[in-house]
Amino acid sequence: MYKILEKQVLSDVTKLMVIEAPHVARNARAGQFVIVIADAQGERIPLTIADHDPQRGTITLIFQEVGKSTMAMGTMNVGDGFYSVAGPLGHPTEIEDYGTVACVAGGVGIAPMYPIARDLKAAGNHVISIIGARTKQLLFWEDKMRAVSDELIVCTDDGSYKRKALVTEPLKELLTARPGEVAKVWAIGPTIMMKFVSLTTRPFSVPTIVSLNTIMIDGTGMCGGCRVAMTDGAKFVCVDGPEFDGHMVDWNNLLSRIQYYKAEEQVAIEHWQQVRDHACNLDKVPA
């Protein structure tokens, strides 16, 4: 069992957990992920490591409740434990001094972006971060991102906080207003957001790294469920990634692939709610 040592509710549907996993913490680096299983009947789900502390032997995970597994995980508390935590997996981010870089993060993607921005800054880069969310309530870690960025732009899709814009808008303005300055862009967030960030940077020929989140089982190269079509052939997100050149990804194929189990996800949620809300008739009998 991998114990939950801290839990923070970042929004109704976004939870942060600090988990005891010394085997992962000791060797983890920015950009890598773990595969967790909540309980013995659980599925293996990949989550990017938002932070890690080798001394304390902990990792920090942030997840958004989008399906049965993450919803059930959201109900877990300090003292509970995960059935399984495997990692670290995937290649770490290639941290170098590139000059000026832009870190574009949307929604829960802010979590995995934080250690990358932090390490890029530590390596000497001028870090311009653009973070956004659908609405104010879903935004988190603005302060942490500010602490590791030289410039920070915050926006919400609905204008409920700071600038009303999609993250691609300030990014485009930046690339237009300061031509040639940004050497590299990182984008992490919903697949559709990463697609449009890649489309935004392409005309400016700015190398753009995206961190893909696909269907995955083992995370070690064995199932191939995470394969993504690239202009130079299929790649496995788990062992070749999770970071890729956003200009080489076949986004439409990826968007279609992550939808494959949509119907089953709904079945799983309904089943879970039924089991959770079920009251046994035996319990209704007065004592």
Binding site: H23, V24, R26, N27, Q32, I37, Q41, G42, E43, R44, K68, S69, Y83, S84, V85, A86, G87, P88, L89, I217, D218, T220, G221, M222, C223, G224, G225, R227, V228, A229, A234, V239, D250, N252, N253, S256, R257, Q259, Y260, Y261, E264, E265, V267, A268, H271, W272
Partner: protein
């Protein structure tokens, strides 16, 4: 009762093993072969001639003392049979189920020349199951040697190596990347051939009594590198298997509904997808499944597909939904002919019996999808057999103009696998072939990197459970020599 004469023994017919009927078993994931009863095991054991020079043993990659265990069995001494078995093999319930005995021990049995060999595999299974049922404890290990060994991977090679070294008194730690030990035994081989509780019990028993520590969720190459292990342990064995699936280079492989047999079987076996939504991992196959390839893995995938389709159909019936009368189809699509099928005869036979449809001399050329990006059909070309190729098999040649389409919902590739790459992160000095396999001495398992041995699929490419166990065993013997020989050890 006076002992039988050899003539009398030779007149006893080989005993079939009871099995679930095909039409029943495709509606469940329970074990197909049900195992001998005590009477059947005893009667089958009577057939053994107790040869002075037992060729059966030569056919066994781990050298199980076959005549000895059968003799004890037929004398009614079951714990003696277990002891005789465990001298060489600590996983008999597993081996009795998945070894290709017909090409190994049983092929060498003297009775095979006159008709039918002794059913050694079925007797082995009987003895293994008895040991588990009675929770027999293995012999205690030798006194501690003070040497520490890391075994990477808990599949057949790693487990065998770990058990042998632990018996000799070395302190063994197994590192496994998945959340349960067993490797291909748990993620690859279906429940209906090898029940998971058997694997769990057999591994747990061995590990408990021999003091083997199993650390799951450790991905060597990332969690620790091979070099880090070498700095903490006196020797390392790599039994990391061949896990990386191969896909054909044809259009459409990234459509929804196309997967590797590894993904499909992992969902079904390791993650218990056939019990979704009770278990969280979904698996779906739709009405028409094409499995590309004709090896054991292909048979497992096709037979699992049939079961999922039947379970789905039964559920619809139970809910009163008048779905289609057709339960669904699972096809084996293979570019060669029936004669070249690489699967074990028994597996192929079971598949056909259950209703798997074989499309021989058929090669996929493209997978076609609908507007949503889901598989719609498989376009194939007919093949004919030409001259034998380097492997001795007649190579298939496409027949021009013979292309045709088969409607499909799911396409599963079972075309073999290559070694998992992660373990090679920061493992300088470990030499590999152009196929990605590790270069190791076939007799000793020694790699080109000092202190590191390897065996099983990571060395040979995808092969059998028992050949991996044999490699684990040979490596353990050589590692023991290294660990206990003062001079060797100090040099190493």
């Amino acid at each position: 009762m006076s002992p039988l004469s050899n003539r009398e023994r030779m007149q006893i017919k080989r005993h079939d093993m009871p099995a679930q009927e095909p039409q029943v078993r495709i509606g469940n994931f329970d074990e197909v072969a049900l195992g001998y009863s005590w009477d059947e095991a005893l009667a089958e054991a009577e057939r053994c001639l107790q040869c002075a020079k037992p060729h059966c043993v030569d056919g066994c990659p781990v050298g199980v003392q076959i005549p000895q265990f059968i003799k004890a069995l037929r004398e009614g001494n079951l714990s003696g049979a277990v002891d005789a078995m465990k001298v060489k093999n600590n996983l008999p319930a597993i081996c009795g189920r998945v070894c290709p005995q017909e090409t190994q021990c049983e092929a060498n049995c003297i009775l095979a020349k006159k008709g039918h060999s002794v059913a050694i595999g079925r007797l082995e299974r009987y003895v293994g199951d008895y040991a588990l049922r009675e929770q027999l404890k293995p012999e205690p290990p030798a006194p501690p040697t003070g040497r520490k060994v890391a075994v990477v991977g808990s599949g057949p090679a790693g487990l065998t190596c770990a058990v042998d070294l632990a018996k000799l008194g070395h302190k063994v730690t197994i590192f496994e990347s998945l959340h349960v030990p067993g490797g291909v035994l748990v993620y690859g081989i279906p429940e209906f051939r090898l029940p998971k509780n058997i694997i769990r019990a057999e591994i747990q028993t061995a590990a408990d009594y021999l003091g083997i520590e199993i650390r799951t969720n450790h991905i060597i190459g990332n969690t620790y590198t091979l070099d880090e292990l070498l700095s903490e342990y006196d020797a390392v064995f790599m039994g990391t298997g061949a896990g990386l699936p191969s896909f054909m280079r044809i259009p459409g492989i990234n459509l929804n509904g196309v997967m590797s047999a590894n993904e499909f079987l992992t969902r079904v076996n390791l993650m218990k997808g056939y019990r979704f939504p009770e278990y969280d991992t979904p698996v779906k196959v739709g009405h028409r499944v094409a499995v590309i390839g004709a090896g054991n893995v292909a048979m497992d995938a096709a037979r699992s597909s049939l079961r999922l389709q039947t379970l789905h159909w039964l559920r619809e019936q139970a809910l009163g939904k008048n779905g289609t009368a057709d339960r669904g189809e699972a096809h084996i699509v293979y570019r060669r002919s029936r004669n070249e099928v690489p699967a074990r005869e028994e597996e192929f036979h079971h598949a056909v019996e259950e209703g798997v449809i074989c499309d021989f001399l058929t090669n996929p050329v493209a997978i076609l999808g609908d507007e949503q990006g889901n598989v719609r059909s498989l376009r194939c070309i007919r093949m004919e057999l030409g001259e034998p190729d380097a492997s001795g098999r007649r190579s298939p040649i496409p027949i021009e103009g013979s292309e045709f389409e088969m409607e499909m919902d799911t396409v599963i590739f079972a075309l073999g696998t290559s070694p998992n790459p992660i373990v090679f992160n920061q493992a300088a000095g470990l030499e590999r072939t152009k196929h990605g396999t590790v270069v190791a001495d076939p007799e000793t398992g020694r790699t080109m990197k000092a202190g590191v041995w390897a065996g099983g699929d990571v060395v040979t490419g995808a092969a059998t459970v028992i050949s991996a166990m044999g490699a684990g065993k040979r490596a353990a013997a050589d590692m023991h020599k290294f660990l206990t020989d003062r001079e060797l050890f100090d040099v190493g």
